[in-house]
């Protein structure tokens, strides 16, 4: 029982014993993630591929995965321009992908 049936992209590696999952809020909805997940892996686990809108209206998500390209920006606890691929999830963290982090910053 992984407690992660809602996460459509999980693999067998993502099975975690009870107690190691945490809940964070993404766009107003609770999302279950593993301790050790980044915001990017937590988003991808739910099947989300795109979570940033560019100034010209383009959709972006994960690209470099190691904090170099700044494509995966989200708002975290009110702080805009936060890299989803570099930020580890914390219980109760509030992530907002609906406001445009690029414009907000």
């Amino acid at each position: 029982m992984s407690g992660r049936e809602d996460l459509i992209m999980k693999t067998s590696l993502h099975e975690e014993p009870n107690g190691k999952t945490i809940t964070l809020m993404i766009d107003g909805l609770p999302v279950l993630a593993n301790k050790g997940d980044t915001i990017a892996s937590a988003l991808m686990a739910t099947g989300r591929r795109a979570w940033r809108l560019t100034r010209k209206g383009g959709q972006r998500g994960l690209f470099c995965g190691i904090g170099q390209c700044f494509d995966c920006l989200v708002m975290v606890d009110g702080v805009p321009g936060t890299r989803a691929c570099m930020t580890l999830v914390i219980a109760g963290m509030v992530v907002d992908t609906r406001s445009n982090p690029e414009v907000a910053s």
């Binding site: 693999t11 993502h14 975690e16 959709q59 190691i66 690029e102």
Partner: protein, 473 residues
């Protein structure tokens, strides 16, 4: 507040960690700066896996190395970036527990590498990602996609494809741009003794083959298509220059395209420090000239590992040790057995360099991958500048990529040109009929990583960063 130390090391991968350990063991006061929460670099990234039952030898080595570094008394500043340099050997820092700047006798740059991006129609669609990004997701136990297409060259994409297949994704194809295998004698010469690498590569191939997932040689990506995210890739045959052969295009449904076209040395800080760099395609990009002790043309500035020419973790470990011993000696901690240690490391380094030469002779990107752009293809992801806009700037008189940047903002965005620098240089070279070495790469400017005004103000209370420059002059 400016801190002072004897040896500052930027980058906590294998090169930076081994340099820190060697310098500290020689008696130097050492500060190691790393961007991540835990040092280790991409080479040791796997350690972050929340999987105690699947610990690899590499994870154990990285854990031991990090422990030794701390025990040797190295001050480690994590989640800290160097965003600029201010005269001499003063580095401007931004990080949670970091001083605003640090000055030192010697600096060892070990900033590593990042993956090469190539531009093609649709490459900004979500679902197009580097092979390394896909690997990171797999480390977290998350599928990067359900139907993966891996395109590129070299071993990384095979390893990622195999891991994805084992994790339950369907790999619709792995496209290797190389058109033919190299002669066996050449392979034996470069791969002899590289047993872990050979095992990893072959077992990845095997994992794909037994699952019926095709590996094709002499194929490449042409375009990505989809509404809001990748739904289909257009692929085609390539010739020996990796140029698309017209008429061979075909569509292949997929939701993820992993780009594995090799690595680019992270040279920005070397550039800011004023180190002489030369464009060496076989080394991945702009790299410094160094002496046998890893010192650049600037006395007291060393460069080790992939940032000085892509060569992999084992080579970085060796170069780091050499630079650590030399930098400590320069700071006045010359131990009697330093020379003996250097001599002992030399044969292993020669062995790794032989592998590096084989790797670069096989997997150095050929010009074709930079010729896929159409008018409305973005060259710059951050500032969303298209090829047509750059072409217009060139027609109006912009002659170099730095001039194009000034006119169009191409390369001026959040990534500070890390993604598009080589894409733009290749485009400008082709449009102006010049060689790539003549065009050169974009000059990185501070801040190398975005800073908020708040962070900038906190860095310079009363303009102290600026004053520290004046103090030195």
């Amino acid at each position: 507040m400016t801190d002072y130390t004897e040896v500052t090391i930027v980058g906590g991968g294998p090169g930076g960690l081994s340099a820190a350990l060697a310098a500290a063991q020689a008696g130097a006061k050492v500060t190691l700066i790393d961007m991540y929460k835990t040092p280790g670099g991409q080479y040791y990234r796997e350690k972050d896996l929340p999987r105690p039952d699947r610990v690899s030898g590499r994870q154990l080595r990285s854990k031991r190395l990090r422990k030794e570094v701390l025990e040797a008394g190295v001050r480690v500043l994590t989640e800290t970036v160097v965003w600029g340099t201010f005269g001499g050997k003063v580095l401007a820092l931004q990080g949670r527990d970091a001083p605003t700047s640090i000055e030192s006798e010697t600096i060892i740059i070990a900033t590593g590498t990042y993956e090469r991006a190539i531009a093609f129609p649709g490459w900004t669609l979500p679902g197009v990602m580097t092979a390394g990004a896909a690997q990171t997701m797999l480390y977290h136990g998350v599928l990067p996609g359900k139907k993966l297409l891996c395109v590129g060259t070299g071993p990384l994409q095979l390893i990622v494809a195999a891991d994805a297949a084992k994790s339950g994704a369907r790999v619709v194809s792995v496209l290797e741009a190389m058109t033919a295998l190299p002669p066996v004698t050449k392979l034996v010469n470069g791969m002899w003794g590289q047993w872990p690498r050979l095992t990893e590569g072959l077992s990845s191939c095997l994992a794909l083959v037994v699952r019926g997932m095709p590996i094709r040689m002499g194929w490449g990506i042409v375009a990505a298509k989809g509404d809001g995210q990748v739904e289909e890739a257009i692929i085609g045959r390539v010739d020996s220059s990796w140029r698309m052969v017209p008429g061979t295009e075909k569509a292949i449904p997929c939701d993820t395209i992993c780009l594995g076209y090799g690595f680019v040395p992270s040279h920005a800080l070397l550039n800011l420090l004023g180190v002489d760099l030369e464009f060496r395609p076989e080394m991945g990009g702009e790299v410094p000239k160094r002496d046998a002790l890893m010192q650049t043309n600037i006395p007291g500035v060393y460069a080790v590992g992939d940032c000085a020419g892509v060569g992999g973790g084992p080579m970085a470990l060796l170069e780091g040790q050499i630079a650590g011993i030399s930098a400590a000696a320069r700071a006045g901690h010359n131990s009697a057995d330093a020379e003996a240690a250097l001599l002992k490391l030399w044969p292993a380094l020669v062995h790794e360099r032989r592998f590096q030469r084989l790797y670069s002779s096989l997997f150095t990107p050929k010009p074709g991958i930079y010729e896929l752009v159409t008018d409305d293809t973005m060259l710059c992801r951050c500032e969303e500048v298209t090829a047509a806009e750059v072409r217009r700037a060139i027609k109006l008189g912009a002659d170099t990529d730095n001039e194009v940047k000034a006119v169009t903002r191409c390369g001026m965005g959040n990534c500070e040109g890390r993604v598009c620098s080589q894409i733009l240089a290749n485009f400008v070279a082709r449009e102006t009929n010049r060689s790539l070495t003549n065009v050169g790469l974009l000059r990185p400017r501070p801040p190398l990583y975005p800073l908020s005004i708040d962070q900038l103000c906190a860095c310079a209370p009363g303009g102290r960063v600026a004053n520290s420059v004046e103090d030195r002059q």
